[in-house]
């Protein structure tokens, strides 16, 4: 049975923290991911740094720039995941990447290398289903799930199309805009979760703007099976660049607190 199925068949809902591989540097990033796992993450969402991350907000772009300034690249990213897999072979790992990084490796090679490294799914931020056929084919061929995003503006007709292509889980945008920690989670999410639910039996994970335990509770209560926490973790890294010990302490505390919110 694949790793996603194992996690989502439990009664408990999932916490999905995100971080950029290599932020702020390779070794610290390894430690961060291990800390996140120890603190109770159910699924990992890992980003490959890209020079022009147009779907992301300033927090994640800054993380990308930190990682790139230490010469992170696709080879090292896959090596990183192999190291994480030695540490934990059970936790599902999803990638968040931009299409050019996949294209430059050769689409099939990318998915093949992802599988070899221990990746469970790939989400490409700037690849709508209309452009995705080759990528989906490579995913199927290499047994890597293809995750797609749905947003409050996605029509029902489009939801149905996406539901046919998506594998692993559905990434549900909790609000409009780029990624980033926001003060509240909008009611749009509730409606979107209701609209997508009849279209698919896959788990629904809500992301974008989830930064507090209350946000986790509200999206899970609205019907999501998991809550994706991105910029909030990256912000802790950013604030503690000069104090690694405190960085790990804060990340651990934050992830544990967010995880508790999934079991309330």
């Amino acid at each position: 049975m694949n790793r996603y199925k194992k996690v989502f068949m439990r009664k408990e809902k999932a916490l999905v923290p995100f971080t950029v591989i290599g932020d702020p540097d390779y070794q610290t990033s390894l430690e961060i991911v291990k800390t996140i796992i120890r603190a109770g993450a159910d699924v990992l969402e890992l980003g490959f740094a890209f020079s022009d991350p147009l779907a992301d907000g300033p927090t994640i772009q800054a993380a990308d720039i930190r990682a790139l300034s230490r010469n992170i690249n696709t080879d090292k990213n896959f090596g990183f995941i192999k190291e994480i897999r030695k540490f934990d072979d059970k936790i599902p790992i999803g990638l968040l990447v931009y299409s050019n990084l996949v294209y430059q490796r050769g689409i099939n090679n990318f998915y093949k290398d992802a599988k070899k490294a221990g990746v469970d799914s790939v989400l490409i931020a700037d690849l709508p289903i209309e452009e995705a056929s080759e990528y989906i084919l490579a995913g199927r061929k290499n047994n890597v799930d293809t995750v797609f995003i749905v947003s409050p503006l996605t029509s029902d007709k489009r939801l149905a199309k996406i539901a046919q292509k998506v594998r692993g889980f559905v990434y549900v945008v909790a609000r409009l805009g780029v990624t980033g920690a926001r003060a509240d989670v909008k009611t749009d999410t509730l409606q979107l979760l209701k609209r997508i639910r009849p279209q698919t039996s896959l788990p629904l994970c809500a992301g974008f703007g989830i930064s507090k335990p209350d946000h986790v509770k509200s999206v899970l209560k609205a019907g999501a099976d998991g809550a994706i926490v991105g910029s909030a973790v990256v912000k802790i890294i950013e604030k503690n660049l000069n104090n690694k010990k405190n960085m790990m302490y804060e990340i651990s505390k934050f992830v544990a607190e967010m995880k508790r919110a999934t079991t309330d």
């Binding site: 696709t74 050019n100 294209y103 709508p128 029509s155 780029v178």
Partner: protein, 392 residues
């Protein structure tokens, strides 16, 4: 509507932008052949922009080079460059779509000024994204935009130039799609932009073809234009594509030369310029082997961009257009020569097209050539003086 030019182009956008792109595609499809819309657009081009722009015989330059050179005078369009054609077209389209707020990116500032102008004229709210490096070298245009009522948002991310301004504009659009139209300034980005911009710029070539037939009684041997994203080039090329004997020549920014790695020559640099996906489109992009986008260099802010419009990639593949480059030095020499010989100070962007012609005059001996003079150089005099080591 088709989203590709051959294999180039496409719609590589986040899911959150798909509905906006679809809405724009529908609206463009509906209005591009709408009689009332076109009458209004044509009236604005005539009465407000001052079209048709002249086709001027450059007699002294011609004598110097030994060929017959005509200049398509987009520098004489209102606001000083061809950018106004597209800005007015899209602003009018946005108004029809019921959008009240316009955002745009700008590099040299010409597209920002054109957009701010169109918004002032049509009563739309306007915000311009501009990299802080470009703000520094184009202060005059920043002031003009503000004077025209636009808000200028400085972009501090990445290389702080045009590509970063586009990232920010796309982010703004993602967040505010319901109220906002993103007025993209070149034949770049996700479909339908490359087609929309080419459509509104095609007036340049339509006029030029008619004018050269009137004056010379024949078609030119070559049409030369500078290529950043490539909107002025597509604007003049399209009308001549069917005239197989007319050579279409695009000139990229060669910066300090190809070997230096500091340039914006996507086609000329075989190592860094490769097929890839950047800011919504599949085309030639300057990048490293992993796909990270390279920062470009050019003396002209308007050509300083990592990707080339997908239609250019297609014309090149079809061998219908040829692409070369002019270095910063060739550009600055042309900037001086055209000022001296013809009394026309060209934009540094347009000076690349002139620079290529001057350096390759032998190839055009006794030929009839049109150079698209896409903009005037008033905005560049401070920067040009600095680069030439002169104090103002």
């Amino acid at each position: 509507m088709k989203t590709r030019f051959g294999k180039y182009g496409g719609v590589f956008v986040p899911e959150t932008l798909v509905p906006a792109v679809e809405e724009l595609t529908l609206a463009f499809g509906r209005y591009k052949n709408d009689k009332k819309f076109n009458a209004e657009f044509q009236r604005l081009l005539r009465e407000y922009v001052g079209r048709a722009t002249p086709l001027s015989f450059a007699d002294r330059l011609s004598k110097k080079l030994g060929c017959k050179v005509y200049l398509k005078r987009e520098d004489l369009a209102h606001t000083g460059a061809h950018k106004i054609n597209n800005a007015l077209g899209q602003a009018l389209l946005a108004k029809k779509m019921g959008k009240k707020r316009i955002i745009a990116e700008t590099g040299a500032g010409q597209h920002g000024v054109a957009t701010a102008t169109a918004c002032a004229k049509l009563g739309l709210q306007c915000e311009i994204y501009m990299g802080t490096v470009d703000i520094e070298r184009q202060k005059l245009n920043v002031f003009r935009m503000k004077l025209l009522g636009a808000k200028v948002n400085p972009v501090e991310t990445g290389s702080k130039t045009l590509k970063d301004a586009i990232n920010e504009a796309l982010r703004d659009w993602t967040t505010n799609v319901k109220t906002t139209h993103y007025l993209l300034g070149s034949v770049l980005g996700p479909s339908p932009y490359p087609e929309i911009v080419a459509h509104f710029q095609s007036v340049i070539g339509k006029e030029a073809r008619k004018q050269i037939l009137e004056i010379e009684g024949r078609l030119p041997d070559a049409v030369i234009a500078c290529v950043g994203g490539g909107s002025n080039a597509i604007g003049i090329f399209r009308e001549f594509v069917k005239d197989k004997k007319v050579k279409l020549i695009g000139v990229e920014a060669g910066g300090f030369g190809i070997k230096s790695g500091k340039h914006a020559a996507r086609f000329a640099d075989k190592k860094l310029g490769r097929l890839g996906i950047f800011q919504g489109t599949f085309t030639y992009v300057l990048q490293d082997r992993y796909g990270q986008i390279y920062n470009t260099h050019s003396v002209s802010a308007g050509l300083d961009y990592s990707a080339v419009g997908p239609e250019h990639a297609y014309l090149r593949e079809l061998k219908r257009a040829e692409y070369y480059y002019a270095t910063d030095k060739e550009c600055l020499d042309a900037f001086k020569i055209l000022s001296h010989e013809e009394g026309i100070i060209p934009a540094l962007e347009s000076a690349h097209a002139v620079g290529y012609l001057i350096s390759n005059a032998k190839r055009f001996k006794k030929r009839l050539v049109i150079v698209n003079l896409s903009g005037r150089g008033d905005k560049d005099v401070v920067e040009a003086a600095r680069v030439m080591g002169m104090k103002i």
